[in-house]
Symmetry: C2
Subunit: 263 residues, 2 copies
Amino acid sequence: MFVIGERINGMFKEVRRAIEERDKRVIQDLARRQLAAGADALDVNVGPTKGRPVENMIWLIEAIQEVTRAPISVDTPKFDVMKEALQACRNPAVINSTKASVTDLDRYVPLAVETHSQLIALTIDETGVPRDVDGRVMMGATIVTKAMEAGLDLVDLYIDPVILPVNVAPKQPKAVLGAISQLRLIADPPPNFVVGLSNVSQGCKERSLLTSAFLTMCIGVGLNAAIMDALDKDLMDAAITAEVLLEKQLYCDDYIAAYLGNR
Amino acid sequence: MFVIGERINGMFKEVRRAIEERDKRVIQDLARRQLAAGADALDVNVGPTKGRPVENMIWLIEAIQEVTRAPISVDTPKFDVMKEALQACRNPAVINSTKASVTDLDRYVPLAVETHSQLIALTIDETGVPRDVDGRVMMGATIVTKAMEAGLDLVDLYIDPVILPVNVAPKQPKAVLGAISQLRLIADPPPNFVVGLSNVSQGCKERSLLTSAFLTMCIGVGLNAAIMDALDKDLMDAAITAEVLLEKQLYCDDYIAAYLGNR
């Protein structure tokens, strides 16, 4: 499981404040804590912070790189911010994200190849988020084709089939599961699959139950990455347990401690 | 989700004592509590109790039938005990279970048809539990064929792909998931799928995590029944949550209370 810790995001007040006041310690502490809890990479999103996004992003990346060599997932919808931020990455980088429209893919896929970055590609295009499995599979096929044409190795591609909150879009979790099940057969070896996990339970009362069950079901059909709250121990335990049941991690009585200790 | 409560089993000391001392209240209390917690049916197994198995079984069934009309899952490996026990069932009955060997299917499938019972069929034959997906799928196909030949409606058939403890058989959970994924395509509508859930974590340290994650993953690929501990609230919550995410239950903020209240 490739766990991308979601907590360095200007949506969180303490992070916003830290960015605006250039308080490195808060960011570096969040980086260290997420990695210790099992994150493999760190998502970085400036959110609705004051100041120029590109400067805030580069400051965040540099603060993190002082304390870890872990991959950084550069999370911005702006292409120019992405390009400049990637220049600041000495750590391995993940581009988070491109959409599946041809114009976006034609910019982002070559950028991933040129900068030796991994790429997260959402199954969203000009028409929005597909309502069903088929729409996701078609966009996933477009993404894979564009990646192969441009020479992006599929091991460096993460398809994100876009989960929406179950309280407003109750058919979407099943559509995501179906899309992963089908798209994992598209190539051998297949691309990776990632979800922005917390979104499934946005605004719901039973957030912990919903998030954990959805993650577990997704892993069961082939998900191998998630942008998620690595500091949520119950959630990390569920992810590690699901992988043990799929024999992706070796079983031992203390498999959770072993997983975290082997890092 | 068709939840078959596992607690009326002579393996548990209090149940064994209640059977041997003909103490109805213990059994009736367990029946009521499991149903209130979300069980749809009650498994009944005399376990290693003193006395004649058939008399103990019939006493259990009659004790339960005094307090509920819920289906009773008659759990015995002995064909003669099964036959006599089914005669005692006024409630709907589930035969738990037949193996997939032809000689067993040729006895149990007609018995299910004659007694209007549902049937649980294990993917085990003379050669034992299959090591992989393919062995389970082949036995599942034999089971379905025999059921269709004998006129057993597939809605009354539950295929149990047999889970073994992950600590001694780490490849088995994945094989069970694969078997359900494939066998659900064998007929339209497909047969039902059930597992004896607690077995997955037998002898393991993290029982609760393993059981819950395995149940959730199985539901994600098509499991729609389980013999399980309905009194384990965390486990029931996980099952209900998984069904909400598959839109088998309607989402509302209090979906767990709604599920239990609608019963």
